[in-house]
């Protein structure tokens, strides 16, 4: 009874130890060393034992054994990998490739393998890699084969292909096979089929393989290779356009977020709010504070801190916005240029206040897990944070449209915009509506700050970077029209990203600015101009 218990405890200890990587290595070492012991049947059993571990470090060792690179060091009977160096062998540890110094030829003895063992090893490697039960291992193995394109792998690859069912892995394997076939002296027809197969991949990797193959291709295939390269090039060009469109939409959604609050204050109310960028900045700092609070008081909710920050940022910016409207701007209605100066002064004060309270350095904002990472869509790589910002921008836009068109407040806002005195005569409290409108615009800038904190540095200067761009978007789209702002933002975003590959990022931006200046000459009131009596003045 007692012995059983002791055995159980010993077993459990061994189990827990083997879970640690350092000890796992130890547990593999004796198995590797066993390869050097006894005759061929013992070696066969040692191979089986290694395969049974399922450890991914095993296949390279078996490959080395099969290639005749595995030796036994006579001094301590340790199995090592030996490669010929000047005057002897350079030894290395089979498991991690660490160098073990040099040895004379007499100090080591080669581990012999026969054909039977070689066949066994091949099957074993296959079952551990390309034909593994685990999908992830198979995929990684197939990609590895593709990367090395080693003709020796062809036979194994064929076997694996025959039994592969997963379409993604199968596609990688076929790609790998085709690129290996190009390297072998296979028949012209086989190579032709391989070229077709690679051409059908339509990726940059495929194009590289074909371009590398072109100089060594047989003359009768050269035309086809060139055609395949061109066809891949065309596919890639389409994807490039798609990539640019996506980047453009992504940039456009950032511009939209930054500008849409301005479209309310500038577009609807006619107030030049140079402190708009600082409202965005306040939203970003609110996010920082909320994250800090959540981390301290409710760590379990940390992943949702951005969602908690949204209403907080809206409220902070909206309240400050309303205070600004009541305190400063309402004295300046009808004097837009003076409003510009006063709000500029305000932006200086807000920046300096934040700098005094939080310091001038960038504040770190942690991205929640559901916003980090990326996924592939064809040849595109889409990061989650960008995708969420696009979704968020669209959501903000829709909500704002609903507020303006479907709520009593929105109705009053539009009434005051269109004819202040008439609205006032109808009993609308215009000062209240002014404050609410300005608060709404500022609050939305705060929401933008939450989103922008994910992709930009949270510093007191955060808003400065967006103010010129936001004005461009609003002016380009046409004042007093949210749809104009949406289309303006997306157009500028996509235009910028399409110019970037040819002109570089800075020059693209300069070109866009110049184009807007020219555009304003043609249409001084933007894309979607308000028409009617209210337009003048």
């Amino acid at each position: 009874m007692a012995t059983r218990l002791i055995r159980l405890i010993a077993f459990l200890i061994a189990l827990s130890l083997s879970a640690l990587p350092a000890f796992a290595q130890d547990s593999l070492t004796p198995l590797v060393d066993a390869l050097g012991q006894g005759g061929f049947p013992d070696r066969g059993r040692a191979v089986d034992a290694l395969v049974a571990t399922g450890d991914q470090r095993v296949p390279p060792i078996l490959q080395a054994l099969s290639d005749g690179d595995l030796y036994v060091r006579k001094a301590d009977e340790k199995v090592v990998i030996a490669r010929t160096a000047s005057g002897g062998f350079a030894l290395s540890e089979p498991l991690d490739g660490a160098a073990l110094g040099d040895a004379a030829k007499a100090d080591v003895e080669k581990i012999k393998v026969n054909n039977g063992l070689r066949g066994k090893i091949r099957t074993a490697i296959g079952s551990m890699t390309l034909m593994s039960e685990d999908r992830a291992i198979r995929l990684a193995a197939a990609q590895n084969v593709l990367k090395n394109a080693d003709p020796a792998m062809l036979e194994l690859l064929d076997q694996a292909l025959a039994q592969e069912t997963d379409p993604e892995i199968k596609s990688v394997m076929e790609f790998a096979r085709a690129s290996i076939v190009l390297k072998t002296d296979a028949s012209i027809d086989d190579k032709r089929a391989a070229i077709q197969s690679i051409g059908a991949q339509g990726t940059r990797a495929a194009q590289t393989i074909l371009i590398n193959f072109l100089p060594s291709a047989p003359d009768e295939l050269k035309v086809e290779v060139q055609a395949a390269i061109d066809s891949v090039g065309r596919t890639l060009a389409v994807w490039d356009v798609g990539q640019n469109v996506w980047y453009g939409i992504s940039l456009g959604s950032v511009l939209l977020l930054a500008a849409i609050g301005l479209a309310i204050t500038f577009g609807v109310m006619g107030i030049i709010n140079m402190a708009h960028g600082e409202m965005v900045m306040l939203g970003a700092y609110t996010t920082f504070v909320v994250q800090g609070l959540v981390r301290t008081y409710a760590p379990g909710l940390f992943d949702y801190s951005l969602l908690i920050a949204l209403p907080a940022a809206f409220l902070v910016s909206a309240v400050i916005g309303m205070a600004i409207e009541r305190g400063i701007i309402r004295w300046l209605y009808g004097r837009p240029l003076e409003t510009l100066l006063a709000t500029w002064g305000l932006s200086l004060i807000l920046q300096q206040a934040i700098r005094t309270v939080f310091g001038a350095t960038n504040k770190p904002i942690v991205a929640p897990t559901w916003m980090s990472g990326s996924f592939d869509l064809g040849n595109l790589t889409i990061t989650w944070s960008r995708l969420w910002i696009v979704i968020f921008a669209i959501a903000v836009f829709i909500i704002l449209q609903l507020v303006l068109n479907r709520t009593p407040l929105g109705l009053q806002m539009r009434a005051v915009t269109q004819n202040r005195r008439m609205a006032s005569s109808m009993g609308i409290r215009t000062p209240f509506v002014d404050a609410m409108t300005f608060g709404l615009g500022s609050g939305i800038a705060g929401l933008a700050g939450v989103a922008l904190s994910q992709i930009d540095n949270v510093s007191p200067n955060l808003g400065q970077g967006y103010i010129v761009d936001s004005f461009m978007v609003v002016v380009f789209g046409g004042v007093g029209n949210l749809w104009g702002t949406l289309i303006g933002a997306i157009t500028l975003g996509i235009g910028n990203k399409f110019l970037e590959p040819y002109a570089g990022a800075v020059l693209a931006k300069i070109l866009i600015l110049v184009l807007i200046i020219l555009f304003i000459q043609r249409r001084p009131r933007g894309l979607f101009a308000l028409k009617g009596r209210a337009v003048e003045q």
Partner: protein
């Protein structure tokens, strides 16, 4: 015609202002150069370029006032003209370094050697001749302003739209000058100047000379602006500011009036920038920042827009305040500047000059002047064809 303009310019206030500026142009260098060190009335060496800088800012403010105060165009892009003038002066100064640079290349400025230029870009070719360079200081910003204004005013871009596109213009230029391959030294700009017109730029006498030049340039600017605003054209400018549509319907061409004012203003700003650079010893793309333009606007607002003396007072008061404030309480300068913006717009719409005007009501225009202006209207087309044809 010219004499007529000059005589009009010499109304009492402008004469006093010009005389004061000329006196300053003589007195400050004289006090710095002639009095012994330690004398209580001697202006210390470091103050001479500092005061010179204030005078350059005052000229920039005057230029801005000509378009904002008199024509109602709020340009947020005057930093562009100021910096362009500065850069063109900087190009001349760079070429004067010759082989005294770090790399000792007789032709290429240091930054070009560093950025592996093989030869001078074409636009650097003639600037080593001072007369050509000084002509360019007037020509290039003038041309830019003329083209920009030509397009903007003809398509009736007004009000805040104009403010925003002028801001976009200076922002675009700033981005362009930040580029290394633009040929202006990238982010580092132009610096390490040695000589100007053969005089050592560090020498006290040269600095005094530059100060005198700044004061005289400002005096000239006052004379010019005063001549313009007191002419019939000046009255049309004010008319455009106060009621653009009505002016147009009366048969005048507001776009031409605006274009004239905008171009003259750009020239003045460019001269201010050109005198600014040798005194501070560096020009870099930061000068193009839209913020600088907006800061210049506040000088005008603080002093009092729509007057000749206002912007000069405003620029000097705000900048002296900035120098003192950033010395005492560097962290609070932005608070003070921001409060200045808000306070001026809310409580001092006519600026410091407005305060004095309110105090002394007797300082009003003689009634005869309006009458004579009305009599003049329509008698002869203005010098610049600002008028298309008589109303009838």
């Amino acid at each position: 015609m010219i004499t007529q303009l000059v005589f009009r310019a010499l109304d009492k206030k402008a004469v006093w202002l010009v005389l004061i500026l000329v006196a300053i142009a003589v007195a400050v260098p004289a006090s710095n150069l002639l009095l012994p060190t330690g004398h209580p009335l001697r202006i210390p060496n470091y103050m001479v370029p500092l005061f010179g800088k204030y005078l350059n800012y005052a000229l920039l403010a005057l230029a801005l006032d000509l378009v904002w105060g008199y024509v109602g165009i709020l340009s947020l892009g005057h930093a562009a003209f100021f910096s362009l003038g500065g850069y063109i002066m900087g190009m001349y100064l760079m070429r004067q370094i010759g082989n005294r640079g770090v790399y000792g290349n007789p032709i290429l400025p240091d930054f070009m050697v560093f950025l592996q230029y093989k030869e001078l870009p074409w636009y650097w070719n003639w600037v080593d001749m001072w007369w050509f360079d000084f002509l360019m200081i007037l020509f290039v910003p003038g041309l830019l302003a003329f083209l920009f204004g030509w397009f903007a005013f003809r398509s009736r871009v007004t009000g805040v739209y104009l403010s925003i596109i002028t801001q976009a213009m200076t922002f675009a230029l700033q981005l362009a000058f930040f580029r290394n391959d633009f040929g202006f030294g990238g982010a580092n700009g132009l610096t390490d100047f040695k000589d100007i017109l053969g005089f050592n730029i560090q020498a006290g006498s040269t600095r005094a000379g530059l100060f005198a030049a700044s004061a005289l340039a400002l005096a000239l600017g006052v004379l010019m602006c005063s001549a313009i605003v007191n002419s019939k054209l000046g009255k049309v400018m004010v008319a455009v500011r106060d009621a653009e549509s009505r002016t147009r319907f009366l048969g005048w061409r507001p776009d031409n009036v605006k274009l004239f004012a905008f171009t003259v203003s750009a020239l003045l700003a460019s001269v201010a920038g050109a005198l600014f650079v040798p005194q501070v010893g560096i020009i870099n793309p930061g000068e193009f920042a839209p913020e600088n333009s907006i800061e210049a606007v506040i000088w005008v607002a603080v002093g009092g827009r729509g007057t000749i003396i206002g912007p000069i007072i405003g620029a000097i008061v705000v900048n002296v305040g900035k120098t003192l404030f950033t010395g005492w309480l560097p962290d609070y300068w932005l608070f003070a500047l921001g409060a200045l913006f808000i306070g001026t717009t809310l409580f001092l719409p006519k600026g410091i000059v407005g305060l004095f005007r309110r105090a002394g009501r007797q300082d009003r225009r003689p009634p005869g002047k309006e009458a004579s202006a009305a009599a003049e209207a329509g008698v002869s087309p203005s010098t610049l064809g600002a008028k298309v044809e008589p109303a009838e």
